[in-house]
Assembly symmetry: C2
Homo-oligomer: 370 residues x 2
């Protein structure tokens, strides 16, 4: 199966930026939260090399912004996550695995508190608002959960600070990693965070109001001409090299935060406790049964990883490869996988059933490339 | 924007049938419940003509089967829908709009009761299990909501009964519309319903167990050779001609069941009452503010409808066109739209802002073609 054509309809939404993304030559898309997300412009390799050297503007509207507000907003969020939210404060971005009662990951958003009883949840690919609404409804909590008219833009790459300073002023340099500040564009306030789905430096702009979207896109492109700015998107090579996980690819509802390497950030005695506190207790004490690890796969460039590839260690089941790609920088295939407990040590050798045959695999730490 | 390429990864799942669908020459797909759904094989026109004359086998695994079970299963479902489930019995398929407290449509599945405390929900494109789980969790209901390993196949077209009889026996002829019966294949029980997302005759087979999928697909293809059986999928032309609605396209969470033409099937004093009973009361008494209607759009074949096209009636807002396509059979563009109350009468003339210019529109009943 080569890449098939995608039929677009209202059900799979365009974003306020889609016309610019098209004009910039996006050649492939994925569907994320029922919205278009460009995956390739020139080629994965050319896009990755550009991202690491210059600056790119990404339409990440598909990180749907969900606003949770009301007197019980924090209570509701704390029920959903083993991250301790008691000290979450204005100006912070917090990665928070969201789980059901069984401890399985339902989403892994970044949370921002933006008002006294007001939170923005920058969601991964699942209709997590439905879970939160159902829970709030069932418990009679005074909290509303609504999708907002925020359409985030990511500005990523080593030249991102220079570009952002031209548009928002020198103060952007002072935003620390995973913090945000309020700035202005065209007289309107918007949140700028030092964050993004790449391991290059960068920002995410929470653009509120559809009418601001194209003016800001155009302003960034214009201001960055001599910085070689171009349109881009999350890049498969750069994200695997950097060890960035993808919900739905590297982990699913079948996995716990401990399996996903977020155990150190979990606290099971929050107030209120996360719904999964009891289910996760054993893992908190004894560690998870499997864990996300880096993998290097021998041989020539691997084909696309469209469904998990099973791994073996001698006769035993070793886990699955969930994301894989050739890395020119690493000079080998770099991958991410869910590895069974006995085989997680760096240097462990496994085999994987790739679509084109059995290959040798070595377990390693993430990121693959620093 | 011509049809872009789709990047496939684990997050956008292949189905147990995908390899056969590919081999049959699917040329475009959409993503439905994060699964691949083929939309075009030869061309929409050729596919539609074949569907109306012969028989097609469709991979509709993306109608994820959700099993709701436990002592409170029916109670949970009744909270979610204004359809009266009190008389739902074995052997029936029931279309049930699922709504939140505000009355907005969250999904519009078909429900089957298959055991004393066991229901299958054949879902449209939203993570409705998250809503049901959150609600059950919050209310402390004894009901579990789980995705099953059922991968439905639709067998659609006028030759469908003949083909199904060859594989399952003559008894398939006795299944009435929107009823189901248990049959056997390879010694395993499976549900066969007289239903499907076309206006041709047809069946949906609830194939339980991934290992049964390819054997059944192959058996149907083999048994139907002289009936001109081929692979297919829901066809945009046939479904608009037939007036079949698509959740996410023709209606969203912003619409109520009354707006979607399901008002006659709603009952607001069920036991327990649907969560939206109060919110829907005014519409039950006075009718909805807007309604789904058929539309005929003048002029040459319309471009693809990728986002709603606004309609006007003189200076007033008239509603939106949500799905549109050229119909050779009707000799005009047939469409579905959400029309504001004042303009819903058949024969009302409106104008629409299509991407290629303003066109004249006439309101009409559905289906467009009988």
């Amino acid at each position: 199966m080569s890449a098939p054509l995608l039929t677009v309809s209202r059900r799979i939404r365009r974003t306020p930026y889609t016309e610019r993304v098209e004009a910039a030559g996006a050649s492939a898309y994925t569907v994320y939260n029922r919205m278009l997300l460009a995956t390739v412009f020139d080629s994965l390799e050319v896009d990755a090399a550009h991202l690491k050297r210059y600056v790119q503007v990404w339409d990440v509207s598909c990180q749907r912004q969900v606003e949770v507000s009301g007197p019980d907003a924090r209570h509701l969020l704390q029920l959903c996550t083993p991250r301790d939210l008691s000290r979450l404060d204005y100006g912070q971005c917090r990665y928070a695995p969201l789980v059901g009662r069984d401890g399985g990951m339902l989403n892994d958003p970044v949370l921002l508190q933006v008002g006294p009883e007001q939170y923005w949840v920058s969601i991964a690919d699942s209709d997590i608002p439905l879970w939160m609404r159902g829970l709030a409804e069932g418990r009679g909590l005074a909290a509303t959960v609504e999708e907002t008219d925020i359409f985030p833009l990511a500005v990523q790459g080593p030249k991102a600070p220079a570009l952002m300073a031209r548009v928002f002023g020198e103060a952007v340099h002072d935003i620390r990693f995973f913090r945000y500040e309020w700035f202005e564009f065209n007289g309107r306030p918007l949140v700028v965070a030092r964050s993004g789905y790449s391991k290059q430096d960068g920002f995410e702009i929470y653009v509120k109001g559809e009418d601001l979207c194209l003016p800001l896109w155009d302003r960034l492109m214009e201001a960055g001409q001599d910085l070689e700015v171009r349109a881009g998107g999350p890049n498969l090579i750069e994200r695997i090299e950097g060890g960035l996980l993808s919900y739905g690819n590297d982990m699913t509802r079948a996995n716990t935060p401990y399996e996903c390497g977020a155990g150190a950030a979990c606290k099971l005695d929050t107030d209120p406790p996360c719904l999964a506190a009891r289910a996760l207790q054993a893992e908190a004490e004894h560690g998870p049964k499997r864990q996300i690890r880096g993998l290097r796969i021998d041989g020539p460039p691997v084909p696309n990883c469209r469904s998990p590839w099973p791994m073996a260690a001698g006769g035993a089941y070793g886990g699955i490869v969930t994301s894989a790609v050739w890395s020119t920088v690493a000079g080998t295939n770099v991958a991410i996988g869910m590895v069974e407990r006995d085989f997680t040590a760096s240097g462990t050798r496994l085999t994987v059933e790739a679509p084109d045959g059995v290959r040798d695999v070595t377990v390693c730490d993430l990121p693959h490339v620093r």
